[in-house]
Amino acid sequence: MDRRELIKWLVATAGLQGLASLAPAELLALGRDVHRRAASRNALRALSPHAEQTVAIAAERILPATDTPGATDAGVSAFIEKMLADWHTPAERDRFLAGVRDLDVRCRARAARDFVDCTEPDQVAVLTALDAAHEEWFARLKYLTVYGYCTSEPGMRALGLYPLPGRYDGCAPLDAR
């Protein structure tokens, strides 16, 4: 057994929920839904332009550009759009989109503006509250943001995961390359 399989075994429950337990009815719904959206000609298939902008900004607040690239540089919102359109079930996607809309509700209550037009501190405050409350849709947004960033080319280069070292050292100093 290599480490890959071990990880799969030990943290099997850490992944996105439902992969192993998609009921037949959900599957059919997912199938119909994918066909319907594949037929539409919009570049965005799951998110409206406003929702896409909202998701992109929220992802950047979760993983901001610092001395390394942030979520926007890594194209995280395009990955989330793809996953919402072709991977999640319609029910999962609807819960996610309702959460995205709720960001506007929260920002309007706080600063009388949509999320995208709020100040950065207001945006951070709203997202921090959702994170502390363990909101399910927000946990999904965060998961997709982290996963999308760490599997993007800018993200993997920033984290030193790419290019591959081409050798094995089982006890290397932390700063070794």
């Binding site: 030990l10 982290v146 591959l164």
Partner: protein, 554 residues
Amino acid sequence: MLADFDAIVVGSGITGGWAAKELTELGLRTLVLEAGRPILPEQDYVEHKPPWEMPFRGLGDRRANASRQSIQRHSATFDEMSHVFWTDDVKNPYSTPADRPFHWFRARQVGGKSIIWGRQVYRWSDLDFEANLRDGIAVDWPIRYVDIAPWYDHVERFIGVSGRKEGLAQLPDGEFLPPMALNCAEQHVRERMQARFGRERVLTIGRVAVLTEAHNGRAPCHYCGPCHRGCITRSYFSSVNATLPVARATGRLTLRPFSIVKSLVYDSRQNRVTGVRIIDAQTRDEREYTARVVFLCASALESARILLNSGVANSSGQVGRNIMDHMKWGGASGQLAGWTDRRVIGNRPNGIYVPRFRNVASRHPDFIRGYGFQGGAGRAGWDAALHAPGIGRAFKERLSQLGPWTMSFAGFGEMLPREENRATLHPTLVDAWGIPSLHIDCRWSDNERAIHRDMNVAAAELLEAAGAIHIERSTSGPSTPGGTNHEMGTARMGRDPKTSVLNGWNQTWDVPNLFVTDGAAMASSGCQNPSLTYMALTARACHYAVERLKQGEL
């Protein structure tokens, strides 16, 4: 009538590739029939494709997997890129009792499952070959270690096995290339286990068919990681990477992909198989090929299916019976303090191995046979942040921080041969080519369940000996039968034609020119990964068959 070929080999996986190599090298014009498509490494191997070039970044096409590969997706090495190396479950159905699932992982392409296998290779010892006799169950193996040892040598020299000699009677050493290194935490655990358990429980680096130096024209491993997506440097052993090219170079190999074997052609007057009947997977045309000798290397359950669909070699009634697999999902993991300034560089395609220690020198009160541990140590990376609290700059810094060293032991337990664990022809279910499918009825017995419980206990003991903290035992029950992809036993070897399908040369008792050399031949399961034994038995059987052919005895 002159036969089309000297030999026909059904299947091009780990044993079919070996049969092709040995038979062609020994001078036989050999036809290899493969049910699936050809594999072109330059095009089909995708191990270096980075995640961002995958539509789902490695999470896989959830919808397609759930609808077309609902069984195959459970395989440990099934992922977004490698899924093409498993079969389509809709085209290749089988059934089980509703309350007894069995995972039948299948691969149809040139190379078969040798492309996606785990590459762990361990010799068996007489502890294994004498086990059935000693315990008075099933049938005695007709061979002993002395019979197979030279063939283990033969296979290891060709495939290239990296490993470390430990001098243990229950896990004989082989012809090893330099071992891969243990990491800092694993080395520590090895030493602490040595101090606590001496030679009873030994942690060694996995013995793996991955090259650590150039070998037979193949390059050493460069530690990229996802072996199961292919290997353009041919650093791990597979039929495509090693045996089939050698067979081709003899000029005596004919490889026919897209050839689904429907049945054997049997001549009752001569009591010989005269060839095989195939369905072309693309045109659906049926045709026959003839040969002087036939080797079934289609995988344990597929070879049994062919025998059952042909109605030959089953006077014992044992074809399809005695299905065995290895039981997983017992074990434990724990954290080790220290080496916070150290990390692993590169992806070692291998883990640690703890050879069987139960029922070796002493007798366990709860079960017979035993298990080995695989596993390893590492530090969590960005994946630990997927569910961590926080957002913003500080949260982002977590992505590049490494967690504590975590050591895990995962058991691989022996399964006893039991006649009622059985595959039969389904009365109505057929595959996409109209060939009757299998109904598989297989379950663990009390002995396997007792082994599973002990895996959790003993793994925790090893971690305690290593000074680990936060030790967590497995909370999973035993794995789904078949799920380890070590299915075997469905045409077992034995000493008596009344109770076994094959003699000690993998030759069917009933039909002299028919051999079965894949996992079907196994009379017990051991707890070691079985592929090395399959390969050694195949090479041995090929030499025997060619000798008999030369003597005019087949």
